[in-house]
């Protein structure tokens, strides 16, 4: 059946048709929908794991046990899963194992722009790179065949424009796979030095075999269009190249970006006058061409930074793209903001008011860094807030302990915060850690996690008691506050900063966008009472603006959280008495 399908949905469909039995992932834009879509198929066991390392090890275990398995993650998630990756590569698989990694050139929703192809090379794992939804489906199925034929996990690598673009696919039927019996095989599966030394040459032989496969695989193909110009490309760059050149250049379109086909590249180069490699981010294919002695152009023409587009490639190739219409006007930027009624707002307002130094983490609450709250000063990776506040306080002692706070979300805490918290408890820094518990993984679009008590399908699951967990680690001071209550939040924050031992504050209130959260009627501003003091404006709530020099509440946005009311000294903000 023909359908218009998101790249991520098409990958899920391909995995399903190939008979995937177990899928475990951690959400991360732009990879999340693959696992959400798999969860809709009842034939497949699927789950959200606490982090990507766990997810990859779950998929490894399922593959060993004899079922085709899958784990998916964004590019930075692969950093977390890198430890199992490099050694699973040595062990190989029983039933096929597919790893999705989704890069984010242009950083639409990420903290860096790393190029995951380097992981394929470094870990010696083959990588397929689809260029539209139809290939997403096809490559997902092919990946399992390669995995089982060559005894290796296989990467599928996407980017935002593949993951989050819809194009037409033809779906097929699922093929059920019998469970491949697990066989005890210590030399293959136990990677202690003696066994691993024997495995490494096998892995190198596998890469040579895979390169031979890449030479003849139809997913690497030449589209001849004259001999003047040859372009080597893959993924979304292939689509931009086709948009610019149509049939007017010869193209080597790579569906497998590791290992690369040496002979095919040399043959292609010999048929054209000059060769240009067009690839986003790092010169990965270009450097390979240089290594095998094929003269190519690449990054001297095209940027290392940001995603490409058809106009960008046209300009780099000396063509003149169409001009648009523009007006001479200073258009204010519209960055993302915390939603109206976001429970994080009350907390960050309080942190800002107390002039705290805030070491932050990854999630919606990273938006606490933007004006007018400006209440987050550091943000690096999942879990870093807790580990780094410990280092910060160990370095400065009392100078920082009374005013420095780590802020981490519930899902991020389960992902990578617990080990940092163990370090605070063990090595005893006088640190104050705020866990913002909005009862969901928010930024990626509402996924369940071990603190929500529900599984990926929304059914009841195990529920970890956050307070008990912190206490079990040795924290005597574990406080819970409602961030909608500014006075209470302020009081508890001051007490815990003043305390002479480490403490955890759980700032708990469900995300205002959750369907089960009931909203109050919107607040109204009484213009006769409003003194235009703009106290309410310090919250940075998108529902509040100044109209005719009086506070104005947008009633289509306001959810009646009442936080602004608590800041009005003139009782001008009315409603929800």
């Amino acid at each position: 059946m023909k359908q218009l399908m998101l790249g991520n949905t098409a990958i899920a469909r391909g995995l399903y048709e190939a008979g995937v039995g177990v899928a475990s992932s951690y959400p991360g834009t732009p990879s999340t929908e693959v696992t959400e879509e798999i969860a809709k198929y009842d034939e497949v066991y699927s789950e959200w794991a606490p982090n990507e390392k766990v997810a990859m090890e779950v998929a490894f275990g399922a593959s060993l046990a004899g079922k085709r398995s899958f784990c998916g993650m964004k590019h930075v998630g692969l950093n977390v899963a890198a430890d199992p990756l490099f050694t699973i590569s040595y062990i190989g698989v029983n039933a096929g194992m597919v790893i999705l990694v989704a890069d984010d050139p242009g950083m639409h929703s990420s903290q860096n722009e790393q190029d995951s192809r380097h992981y394929a090379k470094a870990s010696k794992v083959p990588m397929l790179e689809p260029s539209d939804s139809a290939e997403c489906l096809e490559f997902a199925k092919l990946a399992y065949d390669i995995s089982e034929e060559f005894d290796t996990p296989v990467f599928i690598k996407t980017c935002t424009r593949i993951a989050h673009s819809q194009s037409i696919v033809e779906t097929g039927e699922r093929v059920e796979r019998p469970v491949k019996p697990y066989v005890k095989d210590i030399p293959k599966n136990v990677m202690m030095p003696g066994n691993a030394r024997k495995k490494h040459p096998i892995v190198e032989k596998r890469m040579a075999d895979l390169e031979a496969y890449a030479e003849k695989s139809p997913i690497n193909r030449v589209e001849m269009g004259g001999t003047k110009l040859g372009i080597i490309t893959s993924s979304t760059s292939y689509q931009y190249v086709k948009e610019v050149y149509g049939e007017e250049a010869s193209i080597l379109k790579l569906g497998m970006v590791w290992p690369l086909p040496t002979k095919m590249i040399k043959d292609f180069a010999s048929k054209v006058e000059k060769v240009i490699v067009i690839e986003e981010l790092d010169p990965f294919i270009e450097e390979f061409c240089n290594k095998i002695g094929v003269e190519v152009s690449g990054k001297e023409l095209l940027p290392l930074i940001d995603e490409f587009s058809q106009n960008l490639i046209a300009k780099a190739m000396g063509k003149e793209p169409a001009e648009g219409i523009s007006i001479d006007e200073n258009i204010p930027v519209r960055p993302p903001v915390m939603c109206a009624g976001c429970p994080h707002r009350g907390l960050f307002y309080t942190l800002s008011k107390n002039k705290c130094t805030v070491l932050g983490d990854i999630g919606c609450y990273t938006l606490g860094a933007v004006a007018p709250l400006n209440a987050m000063e550091v943000n690096a990776c999942m879990g870093a807030s807790i580990s780094s506040i410990h280092g910060f306080n160990k370095a400065l002692g009392e100078e920082s302990e009374g005013k420095t706070v780590a802020v981490i979300g519930d899902s991020t805490f389960m992902h990578s915060g617990m080990t940092g918290l163990a370090n605070v408890a063990y090595n005893q820094s006088n640190s104050t850690i705020v866990i913002v518990d909005n009862s969901i993984t928010g930024m990626t679009g509402h996924q369940q996690n071990p603190l929500t008590g529900l599984n990926i399908k929304g059914d009841p699951a195990g529920h970890i008691d956050l307070e008990a967990l912190c206490k079990a680690m040795g924290f005597n001071r574990v406080r819970v506050v409602d961030p909608y209550d500014l006075a209470e939040t302020d009081k508890v924050l001051k007490e815990e900063l003043a305390a002479k031992e480490p403490s955890v504050i759980i700032s708990r209130r469900p995300c205002a966008l959750l369907k089960y959260v009931k909203h109050n009627p919107p607040i109204k501003c009484n213009p006769d009472k409003c003194k235009s003091c703009k106290s309410c404006m310090r919250l940075g709530c998108p529902a509040i603006s100044m109209k005719n020099n009086k506070a104005h509440i947008d009633e289509t946005l306001c959810v009646g959280c009442n936080v602004c009311k608590q800041l009005c000294a003139f009782d001008a903000l009315e409603g929800n008495e």
């Binding site: 218009l4 834009t29 929908e33 539209d132 037409i168 086709k242 106009n311 523009s326 940075g540």
Partner: protein, 189 residues
């Protein structure tokens, strides 16, 4: 020849449903179609853009500057921001609703005035419409997206039945009547 439609607005205004509807209609008409969306962080009240491309064979999933045959803007400031993507001779449909961005809310910038006329003076073919009022008339302020799709349908070679068929495929049954009403209000405005 590939045709290009951009849907721009503020995260949370329902552009994903609009592009779903449009993609469905265009595929039903036998076109090759690509739709590129924004998920994740940018959705949180930020400026969002969706690209819809169709024709015999579509390659790139995105639309570049000077290429859009239509821009449908769910908000006035966003129309001005993305205008440079409009092809010369293209049409921009603008919901006249104003949503203040954070720099305006905190007083660091002002919401520009007279944008519709400025766009017209720059040579753009502007169709301005108060879609929020029409959405409220249909029964929900959230139906702005479908009102604007109704407006777009005026300029489109597709029957009312074809649009309704696509709408039925994309909207949950309990919201269908409301959305049909919103669509017709936009189409006939």
């Amino acid at each position: 020849m590939t045709k290009n439609i951009m849907i721009v607005g503020v995260g949370g205004q329902g552009s994903l449903l609009a592009s779903k509807l449009l993609g469905r209609l265009l595929m039903n008409q036998g076109n090759d179609v690509k739709v590129s969306e924004v998920h994740g962080m940018s959705q949180r009240g930020g400026s969002v853009v969706t690209y819809v491309r169709y024709g015999e064979k579509v390659y790139s999933p995105i639309i570049d500057k000077g290429q859009a045959d239509f821009i449908i803007s769910f908000e006035k400031l966003e129309a001005a921001r993305w205008l440079t993507y409009l092809k010369k001779g293209g049409k921009i449909i603008v919901n006249t609703q104003e949503i203040d961005p954070m720099p305006v809310i905190i007083g660091a910038a002002e919401y520009p005035t007279d944008l519709v006329n400025k766009m017209k003076n720059a040579g753009a073919d502007v169709d301005a419409i108060d879609a929020l009022s029409l959405a409220n008339e249909a029964g929900s302020s959230k139906a702005v997206n479908i009102v604007l799709m109704g407006r777009l349908s005026k300029y489109f070679d597709a029957s009312e039945e074809a649009w309704m068929e696509a709408l039925e495929a994309c909207v949950p049954p309990k919201f269908l009547e409301l959305n049909k009403k919103a669509f017709m209000l936009g189409r006939n405005a």
